[in-house]
């Protein structure tokens, strides 16, 4: 799962336009609701069979860190 696929999934589940997904932005500033984050993690698990718990995602993480977390998990 490459970064572009992960970002497309994030755009799909949050409704944020792809061009607004700044890899350096902290998650807290992106206005992603808790239900959208749970939905994203559900889709990651459903498609790639890897489970990431919502409490492993801290609001001070950047989007880039979230993308890397998902990528590392799916490649492990």
């Amino acid at each position: 799962m490459n970064d572009e696929e992960i970002l497309a999934l994030i755009a799909q589940e949050t409704g944020l336009p792809r061009q607004d997904l700044d890899m350096d932005a902290p998650l807290a500033t992106l206005d992603i609701s808790s239900i959208d984050m749970v939905s994203l993690l559900f889709e990651v698990e459903d498609r790639y069979g890897v489970k990431i718990e919502p409490d492993q995602i801290a609001p001070e993480m950047t989007l880039g860190q979230l993308v890397r977390r998902i990528r590392d998990k799916t490649e492990a």
């Binding site: 944020l16 609701s33 239900i35 559900f42 698990e45």
Partner: protein, 401 residues
Amino acid sequence: MNRHVVITGMGCVSGLGIGVDEAWERLAARQGAIAPIARGGMEGCAAAIPDAADLAPPAHDDIRRLGKLDPLSLYALLAAEEAIGQSGISGHPALDHRTAVIVGCGSGGNASFETAYERLFGKGQTKVHPQTIPSSMIAAPSAHIAMLRGIHGPVFTISSACASSAHALGEAMHMIRAGRVDVAIAGGAEACLTRGSWTGWQSLGVLAPDTCRPFSQGRQGMVLGEGAAMLVLESEDHAKARGAAVLGRLAGYGASSDAGQMTAPDAHGMAAALRIAHEDAGIAEGATLLISAHGTGTPLNDPTEAAALRKIYGAGLDRHRVIATKSAHGHMIGAGGAVEFVLGMRALAEGFAPATLNHLGADPDCDIPLELEGQAFDADALVSNSFAFGGLNAVLVGTRA
């Protein structure tokens, strides 16, 4: 204080297109939307659905931000945005606390339910998407409109099967008259062409294999349609104070229940709703009416509705004109009453009675002045009928601006 209820915006999404103008142009040109569809498990069945290419992905970034939307909510949002845009009420302080949102829906987000059920019961999976409940709930379209527009007043869904949106408009009218709100964004939405829902309708034996032929010889049943229609209603004083253009008036509403059988119509119940709506609107004795029939095209509904109309108008029915637009956009269930009211109000304003399509010849059991050609007709008022399963009846009366 003048609390008569006026219409300042209308929006419509249906198989006839996106927007009231497109729907009206196709209706006036006798271009029906019923055709075989290609959705999974329903391939080749006759239906009228909005063109997916016009809907997805929603261009409106704010709509995308509302999260995973069932088509039910998407239809309602697109129709509401059209109506709000036309009304010019965007940014008005009344939207904050003095506005209601009331959407009529016959069922909830069927696609969301069925996707989840297919995972559980079809594929043997144990988890479903976390948005399954929020996106499928029948109140979702009402909540989504309020969220998009920051509306903090009374917001809820009304469900009364095929009369849902007529009840929604009528109850919204009463809320404005009573002074509970100054503005209401009201109408209905339905997204019923999913495999499970369609199979349920099919099992009832009420669906026509080819098309919808209201009041015609050889009619074989109804044809399902999807979409929404929403209106912006206001007290007349409120609309005047902000200089809004008035499209027409919601002048009367009658509701009744047959308390009879679940699926068999009853002319007495229909006539009761018609009588109450006429009294409420104060329609003058000599008025000429454009009557938008419920006209489903089922063997049972149409002669029962014809009998109810005769009961109310007697021989005087013949100077009025009956239209049956389900022949063009299908039976849109919870959305039907609002879609037909919007198209009827447009017909009233244009002075044109659109043709009832797919007619094969008069049925002597349906002795009504049915418009078959599509021609100029000047009426004083619109009477729009919705007679639902459960014996739930609602009739709306609209008049010119």
